[in-house]
């Protein structure tokens, strides 16, 4: 209805590098009139304008298989004792807001939701120790999807394997089927959550490659990869497996990498180097 009139664009402002600004200015002007008394007067134009300059480009069309999102994790760069990726993941997804229902710390450590686990491997013969973050491997042939009785466990067209919590009945078959133990079950009512990441009792959840970032063109990375880079390790490269020019593709072309449990032929989207 009246909102339709807001999506006007000025025809002379197309295809020039400045066009975005031009359109924005237009929209700002419009805001001044349309929301007079709401935004402009009450809060001052400045505050509104700054927020609107950084407008999101959220998806308007369904995802396609043009992209296949994935990661390369170089275990030789993954530092012992560092949990930057885990912490960043928790913050991004509101997992740090979980509250323990018990005093038993060990019990809680087992039960709480974790989308990334830091795993330490030790070769008993040589004594060599390897660190790695383990999360959903975003298989092309995901066993969790095969076993799900309701279709809640699904693979998005762009390769992200995730749980539609609206159809998940909490049976946890997928958790049994996953060779990577990458999924968690929410046992308790969730008191605090982020708007962006709804989560609640009785459903299975796991890494979704920061799905709401994937649906926003301005975002090129995941919380864990960002944090790993910021902490100086740079062990995680996120990107598009299908795009030959992506940094991920180029990194994969240069190093020896493998899939964990390669023999299962799941064609994982997350690959590891240095294993």
């Amino acid at each position: 209805m009246t909102y339709a009139s807001h999506s006007h664009s000025s025809p002379d402002a197309i295809d020039t590098p400045d066009s975005i600004d031009a359109v924005d200015t237009d929209r700002r002007q419009f805001l001044h009139y349309a929301a007079a008394g709401v935004a402009t007067v009450a809060l001052g134009g400045g505050a509104v304008l700054t927020t609107l300059t950084a407008t999101a480009e959220p998806r308007t069309t369904p995802v396609t298989s043009t992209h296949r999102w994935g990661m390369l994790i170089d275990t030789t760069k993954c530092a012992a004792g560092c949990d930057a990726c885990v912490t960043a993941c928790e913050r991004e997804n509101g997992l740090n807001l979980q509250q323990s229902p018990t005093d038993d710390a060990a019990d809680w450590a087992d039960q709480q939701s974790a989308w990334i686990r830091k795993v330490t491997l030790r070769d008993n013969l040589t004594g060599q120790v390897t660190q790695l973050p383990l999360m959903c491997q975003h298989c092309a042939e995901p066993p969790c999807v095969d076993v799900c009785p309701t279709g809640a466990s699904f693979k998005r067209a762009d390769g992200i394997v995730m749980v539609d919590r609206h159809t998940c009945i909490g049976c946890r078959y997928c958790m049994m089927a996953c060779p990577y133990q990458a999924r968690s079950f929410v046992h308790q009512p969730v008191a605090q959550k982020l708007t962006q990441v709804p989560r609640g009792k009785g459903c299975v959840e796991s890494c979704n490659l920061c799905v709401s970032r994937r649906d926003d063109d301005r975002q090129t990375s995941t919380a864990c990869a960002d944090a790993c880079a910021a902490s100086g390790q740079g062990a995680i490269v996120f990107g598009d497996l299908n795009d030959p020019n992506s940094p991920l593709h180029q990194a994969l072309a240069q190093v020896n990498s493998r899939q964990i449990r390669q023999e299962l032929n799941l064609n994982t989207g997350v690959r590891y180097a240095g294993l």
């Binding site: 209805m1 909102y3 805001l31 509104v48 609107l52 959220p58 998806r59 609206h166 605090q192 708007t195």
Partner: protein
């Protein structure tokens, strides 16, 4: 919708025309909804804008279908730009305390609760979905962009 009889069509057109003129006539200093105080909470942003994402009559009848359609579009297909997003409803319809703190939208007497209580509807949506705008994210940006809202005041739930 499927039930569009000619009678409804005319009503629809009349509503459009009315909405259009009322926009011109009354849009000067304050844009306030007609239904404030009934279910629309006076301290919500909704009380400051003229109308919902669709005409109120339509919303009253079909909001569940709109949201549920949006749900699949977003979760399955990654479409996050449309106005029927549940987080948008929350951004606009959340009431505020005198001090400006957001009140959970499903709390007793608040927007989604008051009417559902009268209609004996129970929802489990808020087991998972945040009941006030919380954290950062596309949702708030889309809410602002599409609905020309003032910036979200952040608050932990």
């Amino acid at each position: 919708m499927a039930v569009t009889t000619p009678h409804f069509k005319f009503t629809g057109i009349a509503v459009c025309i009315l909405a259009f003129f009322s926009q011109i006539l009354f849009s000067q200093p304050t844009l306030a909804a007609d239904r404030i105080g009934e279910y629309v909470v006076p301290s919500s942003r909704a009380a400051q804008v003229k109308q919902c994402v669709e005409p109120a009559d339509h919303m009253r009848r079909y909001h569940m279908e709109l949201i549920q359609h949006q749900r699949d579009a977003t979760v399955r297909h990654g479409i996050r730009s449309t106005k029927y997003s549940l987080s948008n409803c929350i951004s606009c319809h959340t009431g505020h305390t005198a001090a400006g703190a957001p009140i959970a939208i499903n709390a007793t007497g608040q927007f989604c609760n008051a009417c559902h209580a009268a209609a004996a509807v129970t929802l489990n949506c808020f087991d998972c979905h945040a009941t006030i705008p919380s954290g950062e994210g596309w949702n708030h940006e889309v809410a602002q962009q599409l609905l020309l809202l003032p910036p979200v005041s952040e608050g932990a739930e």
